[in-house]
Each structure stands twice: as C-alpha cells, then as structure tokens.
C-alpha cells in the first residue's frame, strides 16, 4: 500500500511536523471526543486550506491525508445509509449488507494504520506516497501549480 520516493529533498523540522500533523488530525479529533467521522474530513480540508501556501512537502501530505479521509468517508457513508435503511425496514439485513459492513471496518482499520504509519514516517522527514492517493495528490498539486 505504501512506498517511498527515491528523491530526498531537504525538509525542515517545521515542515515534517506539519506534514505529520495532517495525518494525526483524525486521531486527535477522535481522542478529544468528537466521534463524528465527517469531522475528520472537515479537519483535513481546513488543514489543507491553512497550509496551501506552504512548501510542496506539506501541501502534498495535507492533500494525501485529505483524500484518504474522503475515500473512507465515502465507504462509511454507504454503510451508514445502508444501515439506516436496514434499521428502518427499507432494506433487508442480508449477508451482502453484513459483509459490506465488515469490509468497511477493515477499510477503516487500514486507514488508521496507514495514517499512523504516514504520520510517523513524515515526522522522520520521509516522503511517503500511498498507493493511488499519492499519485492523485501529485496530479492535483501539479495541475494547481
């Protein structure tokens, strides 16, 4: 899922801290007691906007973290609406539904582990690119530049 880039640009301590914080946002929000998943995405969006004028390293990780949260929120939203439909009797509590919820839980676990790993590695000034999200972030940031 993850791979490092071969190029090693000079990254300052302050940049590494900011990039690492982009991934830690979601964990912090959960820890301080706001278990609403949409908050993670909102937090990531604000973090990206606040750091959009910073160096490429910070912007890249803010964007990658934001896209990662958006992807998971999409998976969770489908699960949430499906669950509400099941609870209100508009959909059957089928095997397909339970397997989707299980898959969504696996996705969330992978996302948390990935975000934690990325936070640790970026703090060490290592440039981590997550499969698809890294490429997409690069593509968006290059276009904007």
């Amino acid at each position: 899922m993850k791979r490092e880039t071969s190029s090693k640009p000079i990254i300052l301590d302050d940049e590494a801290e900011k990039a690492s914080f982009a991934y830690l946002m979601s964990m912090l929000i959960v820890i301080i007691g706001i278990p609403l998943p949409i908050i993670n995405v909102i937090g990531s969006i604000f973090f990206y906007i606040a750091n959009r004028k910073k160096t490429y390293f910070v912007r890249f990780h803010a964007m990658q973290s934001m896209l990662l949260h958006i992807a998971v929120i999409l998976v969770n939203s489908v699960g949430l609406f499906w669950s509400i439909s099941v609870l209100t009797g508009h959909a059957a509590a089928s095997n397909l539904y339970f397997s989707y919820i299980a898959t969504a839980i696996i996705c969330n676990i992978i996302e948390i582990v990935t975000a934690l790993y990325a936070a640790i590695e970026t703090r060490k000034k290592k440039d981590i690119k997550i499969l698809f999200f890294g490429a997409l972030s690069e593509s968006i940031l290059t276009k904007n530049n």
Partner: protein, 264 residues
C-alpha cells in the same frame, strides 16, 4: 491522473474481492441475527408492558380473557401461527385503542371492548394486531424510533421523555398508510381462513370513523394514517370478494354484550 487511475484499479479490486469473499460467509447464521432480534423484541415488549401495567391495571378476569384467548387461538391455529408467540394484555383504560408491541405482545384497552357490539369486531382488531406482529411492522417501527431517539439524544437531553413518547407513538399513529393497509388486508385473510366474518371488523372501523377529527375525514391526504371509514370500505370489499360461510365465535352472540358490561 492516468497513473492515479491505474493505481485505483487494484484498490477497487481488493475492496470488491474482500466484500465478495466475506459475502460468501453466512454471517446471518454466525451472528445469530434472527435470534438476537427476537430476544431484543421480547425484552422491549416486556419493558413496555411493565410500564403500561405500572400505570393502569391489567384485566385478568377469566370471563373476558378466556374469550379473547379463544379468538386468538382460532386465528393463530388456522393461519399457521404458534399461539404461544402471541400474548394479549387487556388493560383497564377507557381509551378506544389496541396496539401491538414487539415480542408478540398485544395491548387491548377495555375501551375498545366496551365499544364493540360483537366478539367478531374484537376478532378483527386481534387479527389486525397479529398481522402487524407477523409482518414485523412493530419491530421496524421501534427500530426507526430508536434510531431517531439516538439522534435526538445526541443533540439534546430529552432522554427521560423518550420512553413515554415512544409508547405514545407506538400506540397511536406510528404506522404508515401502507403498513395499516397491509395489516388490514392480512387480517381479512386471517379471519377468512378461520371463518370469522370480517364484516364485524369493518363495522367497528365504521363506528370509529365518527370519532375521528373532521379534518382527517375530509382531507385524508394530510394524514399519514388512513382514515377508519376508508379502511372499513376496503375491508368490506375484500370480504365481499369471497363466498366463505362464516361461523359465529360464540354459541350465543348476546353473551358478548353481557361480558362487556362487566369490564371495569
């Protein structure tokens, strides 16, 4: 962007493969969902009955309970329903109402028994409530209420009122027009299967319609709940579409009025 699109493919494939593989595991059986839901229903039903009987007395006089149980057993036995799964509670309340609760519990207020002119009318009410239970309407409504209350609970602190409000909702206008119509239709089938005349049920509905607010009688579309007059018409239409020879529940029908007078 092309690079990202190519990299998206393995992620999507992995997601779909995991979902597909997990869907082949019989989770419903492993998680014993049906049994768990039934247990929750039973507990919820008991909880509400305890709440109702703490406020109003339950009538246990054999004169009335024996007839009600006889009707229930006749409906259940002729419709492949285990009578042990349905428990009827007669409550000393003058409100003209009857409602089903999760866990196969039916509450019939003394008011509706007093209002009835024959046991066939009450048989219609019982068949209707059994239909709600068999079609799992009660559990669906309750789950919806629990979800709504959970949301309310998150944004306000009205928890104390929730139990009373939920019960009020369950016992009055919880069911939608479609749900009520489905329960009426099933009730007529149940009654036909055990040769109890659904005309009694229609007569009761007709009389109850007089008590409904005029606004609902005239403008039925503003209410999510169907009006009693329309329900009576539909019940009669279904009843008249068959050529069943109905059998009286009581050997002496006048016996019913004597019994209803003794209810307090």
């Amino acid at each position: 962007m092309k690079k990202a699109a190519i990299q998206l493919l393995p992620i999507l494939l992995t997601f779909l493969t995991v979902w597909y593989l997990l869907s082949n595991v019989n989770m419903e059986e492993h998680l014993r969902i049906e049994k768990r839901i039934a247990n929750i229903g039973e507990k919820v039903g008991q909880y509400y009955i305890k709440h109702i009987t703490s406020e109003k007395r339950e009538i246990t006089s054999h004169e009335i309970t024996d007839i009600i149980d006889k009707v229930k057993n006749r409906i259940c036995e002729n419709n492949n329903i285990d009578p042990r799964t349905i428990k009827i509670h007669i409550i000393s309340s003058n409100d003209i109402n009857a409602f089903a609760l999760p866990g196969g519990k039916i509450v019939i207020n003394a008011g509706i028994i007093k209002c009835s002119r024959s046991v066939e009318e009450i048989a219609g009410v019982i068949a209707h409530e059994i239909a709600h239970i068999e079609k799992k309407h009660t559990m669906k409504i309750l789950t919806r209420l629990v979800v709504m209350n959970a949301i309310v609970k998150m944004i306000s602190s009205t928890i104390g009122r929730i139990r009373a409000e939920t019960l009020k909702f369950l016992s009055t206008t919880a069911y939608s027009r479609e749900t009520e119509e489905e329960a009426d239709e099933t009730a007529v089938q149940y009654l036909n299967n055990c040769k109890i005349d659904p005309a009694g049920f229609a007569n009761l509905m007709q009389r109850l319609s007089i008590r409904e607010p005029v606004i609902y009688q005239k403008f039925t579309f503003i209410s999510r709940h169907p009006n009693s007059e329309q329900r009576a018409i539909k019940i009669l239409e279904k009843r008249n579409a068959t050529t069943i020879k109905y059998q009286s529940i009581l050997d002496n029908p006048s016996e019913w009025s004597k019994i209803t007078k003794t209810i307090n």
